[in-house]
Amino acid sequence: MTKYMDQTGWALTLGLAVLIVVNFFIPEWFRAILLLSLARGSVALGLLVLWRCGLISFGHALFYGFGAYTVALIVKYLGITDVFLTVACGVVVAGGFAWILGFLLRRYRGIFFALLNLAFSMILYGVLAKLESLGSTDGISLEQTTYLWYEPEGAANKTTLFFFAAVMTWAVAMAVHHYLRSTLGYMTTAVRENEIRLEYLGYSAERAIHVKYTISGLVGGFGGAIAAMTIGHVDPDSMAYWPISGDFVFIAILSGTGNVGAPFIGALLYELIRTYAFEQFPGIWQLIMGGTLLLIIMFLPNGLWSLVDRWNQRRKERNRLEARAQEEKA
């Protein structure tokens, strides 16, 4: 067990415990915000995996959309309402598409990589908006969800979904964290800075990117599936349109790449800022969002997580000084 539990592992588990406890004390609207933060944070986590090796996608709504629509279509056409099954399908479909697209995208870097993602996401948007069988611009509404043999009703519905989403997100974050600590996951600077050396160490930079991209797609699909169930409705404009991809990039910048927990904190903050800005200043809420982004880039270029890093460093420094003072005394 200790093999899988380090500081981050414990922190994520603590986060899960906090979510489960606060569930009983929060109003409905805040639970919805938390759910949406888990969903969008997951997609931003997918961006983090790519970002660490210097790649950024301007089209991650692609996988968000795949995940969400897979869930909705399975419910609509197959009548399957079990969340374990629908979410698993959403993850697999998004991951599968990421794997297929990966054969092309692994050959691109920088702006080309970013914009090719955008291109693919807009193709998905076009298909979803045009095809009547996929709900067209109206989208598809989801029916009642079930959990294995449990069919919650009324208020229990939201609570159950919240627990389910929290536990699943915890599992996803733990898995990604484990991946990032593996040899393959550590091929980040290597890919970003020197692909030739990586080849001469005996591994393919393209394959490393392909794996990262597939993981990114899987996690993005998971986020989409959770979002679909949270909102209870999918439509192209809120699941696959390009500003949605922009939101994910915003969250990723806000969070920083320091830790797998960061995207979830970033996503929550993003949702809160947007909700309040929209409510209090309906005329200029975009201005507030833009201003926030500007401030983050100017003062916290490595995102919110750099605050934690700074705090850790200061603590280490203080411990060192204390140890030295004690030595001198002795």
């Binding site: 040899t183 550590y186 290597a190 800075e193 020197n194 080849e199």
Partner: protein, 268 residues
């Protein structure tokens, strides 16, 4: 003694420029070979072709009895033919320790094994040993971008040897290093490579280094090997003197060059 590398009839041209013409080389286990030649003579092209970075136009490349022509860099690296670079190719924003850690991680695992944790105590131990062998342990936590050039070169070579290669190709290990440092660095390097019983081929411009560390010389000129002989012999070879070393150098060394002759040599 078994043959490690066998290259026959290697050809490469870039448009009208012939970078390699009829290259035939056989390297046996345990040899230390120096590759010399003027800039653009085809030395690095040779290394690039043998290690799979550049596809040759023609010819045969056998490593440990296996045909490796057309294989990828990483496939050849995995077989045990590794190289270092003239300009060190390291991960600049990572520390020396992290650079070697990822190198060891990739060398020690493959396939799904790569999903195992990278930072492990036993691996860290091997990295520390390796750093001691190459005498870069003092720089353990220094980012590669902040290293002195000589140390960065050693790191580059240390990263190339984590697989304990059968044959190691070093592209100008002393270029960019000051004259005072170069013998120290070469001593560290040769000692470490001897411990690991690695067959070495290195490209070098510095004739002092070549004479001191190398048992056999390959001299390149305009894409061809103009001399393949033991070091002593190669140094006095007329073709090598004319195209690689330059006559004046030899005269000064043999001690019978006076000002007039040196002047003549320059004029000629």
């Amino acid at each position: 003694m078994s043959v490690v590398l066998n290259v026959q009839g290697l050809e490469k041209s870039f448009g009208a420029v012939v970078a390699a013409h009829n290259i035939n080389v056989t390297i046996e286990e345990g040899e230390t070979i120096g590759v010399i030649g003027a800039n653009g003579a085809g030395k690095t092209t040779f290394v690039n072709m043998v290690t799979g970075y550049l596809p040759p136009s023609e010819g045969k490349i056998e490593f440990m009895g296996r045909d490796i022509r057309g294989r990828s860099v990483r496939a050849i690296t995995r077989l045990g033919l590794c190289r270092s670079f003239q300009v060190p190719q390291v991960f600049l924003s990572e520390s020396v320790f992290d650079n070697l850690m990822i190198a060891f991680g990739i060398a020690e695992r493959d396939g799904l094994g790569l999903l195992g944790a990278l930072m492990r105590g036993d691996r860290a131990g091997r990295v520390d040993e390796h750093m001691v062998r190459y005498q870069i342990a003092d720089y353990r936590h220094v980012a590669a971008s902040a290293l002195p050039q000589g140390v960065r070169k050693l790191l580059d070579i240390a990263m190339a040897t984590v697989r304990k290669p059968k044959l190691l190709m070093l592209d100008e290990p002393t270029s960019g290093i000051s004259a005072e440092e170069k013998f120290g660095i070469m001593d560290i390097l040769m000692q470490a490579l001897k411990e690991e019983e690695t067959t070495v081929l290195f490209i070098e411009h510095d004739m002092e280094i070549v004479e001191r560390y190398v048992s056999r010389v390959l001299a390149f000129s305009q894409g061809e090997i103009i001399c393949d002989a033991p070091t002593e012999q190669a140094m006095v070879d007329p073709l090598v003197q004319e195209f690689v070393i330059g006559k004046e150098y030899h005269r000064a060394r043999s001690g019978n060059g006076d000002a007039a002759e040196a002047g003549e040599g320059e004029a000629g």
